[in-house]
Amino acid sequence: MKLQTTIFVIWIISTVIVIAAFVVVYLHSKVKPSSITYEIINSRRFKFFYIVVILFLALFFVALSYTPYTREGKADEIIGVKARMFSFVLTKDTVDCGKLIEFRVAAEDVTHGFGMYDSAGTLLGQVQAMPGYINRLRIQFDTPGKYNIFCLEYCGSQHHQMKTSLIVK
């Protein structure tokens, strides 16, 4: 399953849980106060606090091992990217399947975004293209086909038309 779908499912499940919790609590507020008082529930807050903290800490450390910032080892191929109003210039527009590609992304005028989409229209990853800096984005393409690159940072009146493509053989 692609990450976007997983995320969406997680969000939907959380939303259902939140709504269910609010509805249950709402219904509870209409009946006569039971023996459980606010003070009693308050004393359980710490249990909830620890659960939430442990969950977030776990998520935090898991996430750290999947960040796109790693620079270990050498890339198989380097492609220079220059973004400007309103086009991308790539030093190469065809790459081989399975190779680790490093895009070195720069901008000429304003900040743009470099978003790599597969042929099904799923965003594989992105990086900002900022004037005065070079951002390095590493992607390994495992399926041949046509990949689209869209601008993902608002850069002016033709922002939505700023795109190019990359062929993976």
Partner: protein, 482 residues
């Protein structure tokens, strides 16, 4: 209806009438950026062909006006509510509001006449490259005028509080260190935390504006990464403090619907003091996709974002659920809408925390997932909380109660319209549809259908909103006369 939540503020005629005038103005003014929002979804959904070229102008103006209006309304609501405990100066209140109205009008002029369609966070160096020379100056000045208005106001509120409480007291340090001391209501503590953060981020915005002026006046070229950091300290913090300002008022009044109160104490003080420390670092999550930013800063951003989430979940949200489940609540239009806003804030918060996770952000940043989550906690969360309080105030100042159909029909209508609108953003995020696109490319054409559905949902919301607005305005007018 025998509610008297706001009896002290209502007796303060100057504060009351200034607040009512601003609230009335903001309810009507809201229609302008709301209409821009509808027009944007209509353009994206191919329902509208003529005003295509105005899309990015609508976008910029929508963001600026929405944040401006709701931030100001939150400040006004806080000023009104605080006047139960302290004495804010009416003169300063009016001066600040006037500056803000001037700033908002200047920004409208700059965007539409000066052609400054920069997006609401005017990412450097875009404002230097587009628009007219006058437009640029007016645009930057409008941000300056808004900032000065909010700054003067925040300082005045802090001074008013300082006349009655010392700073360590307001921050609840005597609770933290177990010393004896006066009772400080949570509204004071949360207000002080938020106002300090607001003042810090406005001062940072001043640096940002000065750097812009320097570049306009001389040949100095600014550093894009620094400018991006500066603009997000400001933009992120202002948007978040908007919610906290409302939460301060919420702590004071929501429990009254169940005949109880939220008391200040050691844990609450620790939490809000840490929030002050955490919240200024969370903005780093806006720069995850700038790989040149030091990596440790990115991790701090994720940590701080999660920290803010933990604080919100285990304190405010937990307290609301615990309180409601143990009290017999008076469920009227206001309390029900407030309760729903807390749920929306939670739902949007979950989506925000997901996006504040670096590997997720890599694939969701600048897609429609972003407007999806921030509209959920900002529009159906914070702004809706303010609307709920406006309703309570409207009923109290006028002595006119609510009709049963409001809870039965109006509320579901508003909720259905808003939820449909939001859900289409979430679907857009699921399908990697970029945010801020005037037209969706053929490769991402699902975006068009979602935009169309969103436009129809917005109309449902508008139908309900107009009725609501009319009822509130009628009551405000009656209240101002007494």
């Amino acid at each position: 209806m025998e509610q008297t939540f706001f009896s002290e503020p209502i007796q303060n005629k100057g504060i009351r009438n200034t607040t009512l005038v601003w609230f009335s103005l903001s309810l009507v003014l809201f229609l302008v950026p709301a209409a821009f929002g509808f027009l944007m979804r209509s353009i994206q959904g191919n329902l509208l062909q003529d005003s295509h070229h105005l899309f990015y102008h609508f976008l910029t103006s929508h963001g600026l006006l929405m944040v401006g209006i709701w931030f100001t309304s939150a400040m006004a609501l806080l000023t009104f509510s605080l006047s139960k405990y302290v004495k804010p100066r009416v003169g300063m209140y009016i001066v600040s509001l006037s500056l803000i109205v001037v700033g908002a009008l200047m920004s409208l002029w700059a965007v539409f006449i000066g052609d400054m369609a920069t997006g609401w966070y005017f990412l450097y160096p875009l404002p230097m490259r587009i628009g007219t020379a006058t437009g640029r100056i007016v645009f930057l000045s409008s941000i300056g005028v808004l900032g000065v208005g909010w700054l003067l106001w925040s300082i005045d509120l802090l001074l008013a509080i300082a006349k009655k409480y010392t700073l360590p007291e307001t921050l609840g340090w005597h609770y933290i260190f177990g010393e004896s001391g006066r009772e400080v209501p949570p509204i004071i503590m949360i207000a002080v935390v938020s106002l300090i953060a607001i003042i810090v981020c406005i001062l940072i915005a001043v640096i940002l504006l000065l750097l812009y002026l320097l570049e306009i006046a001389s040949s100095v070229v600014n550093d894009a990464l620094l400018m991006k950091n500066l603009v997000f300290v400001f933009g992120h913090t202002v948007a978040n403090m908007n919610l906290y300002l409302v939460i301060a008022v919420f702590y004071e009044y929501f429990p009254k619907f169940g005949g109880g109160e939220f008391k200040n104490g050691r844990m609450l003080a620790i939490v809000w003091n840490s929030v002050l420390g955490i919240v200024l670092f969370a903005y780093f999550h806006h720069l995850y996709m700038d790989f040149i930013q030091p990596t440790v800063v990115q991790y701090i951003g994720q940590f701080a974002s999660y920290g803010a989430g933990v604080a919100a979940a285990t304190f405010t949200i937990f307290s609301v659920l615990a309180f409601v489940s143990t009290h017999k609540m008076n469920w009227n239009f206001s309390s029900l809408l407030l309760f729903i806003s807390v749920a929306m804030w939670t739902i949007g918060g979950v989506a925000a925390l997901i996006d504040a996770t670096i590997p997720v952000n890599f694939k969701m940043h600048n897609t429609l997932w972003v407007p999806a989550h921030f509209h959920t906690y900002y529009f159906t969360g914070a702004a809706t909380m303010i609307l709920s309080f406006m309703w309570t105030i409207a009923c109290e100042v006028s002595g006119a109660g609510e009709q049963p159909w409001m809870k039965k029909f109006l509320l579901p209508l508003l909720l259905a319209g808003a939820s449909g609108f939001l859900l289409m953003f979430y679907f857009g995020g699921l399908h990697s549809i970029p945010r801020r696109y005037e037209v969706y490319p053929v490769e991402l054409s699902e975006g068009t259908a979602y935009a169309k559905a969103a436009a129809y949902s917005i109309l449902l919301f508008f139908a309900g909103y107009i009725v609501f607005m009319g009822m509130v305005l009628k009551r405000f007018l009656r209240g101002m006369k007494t």
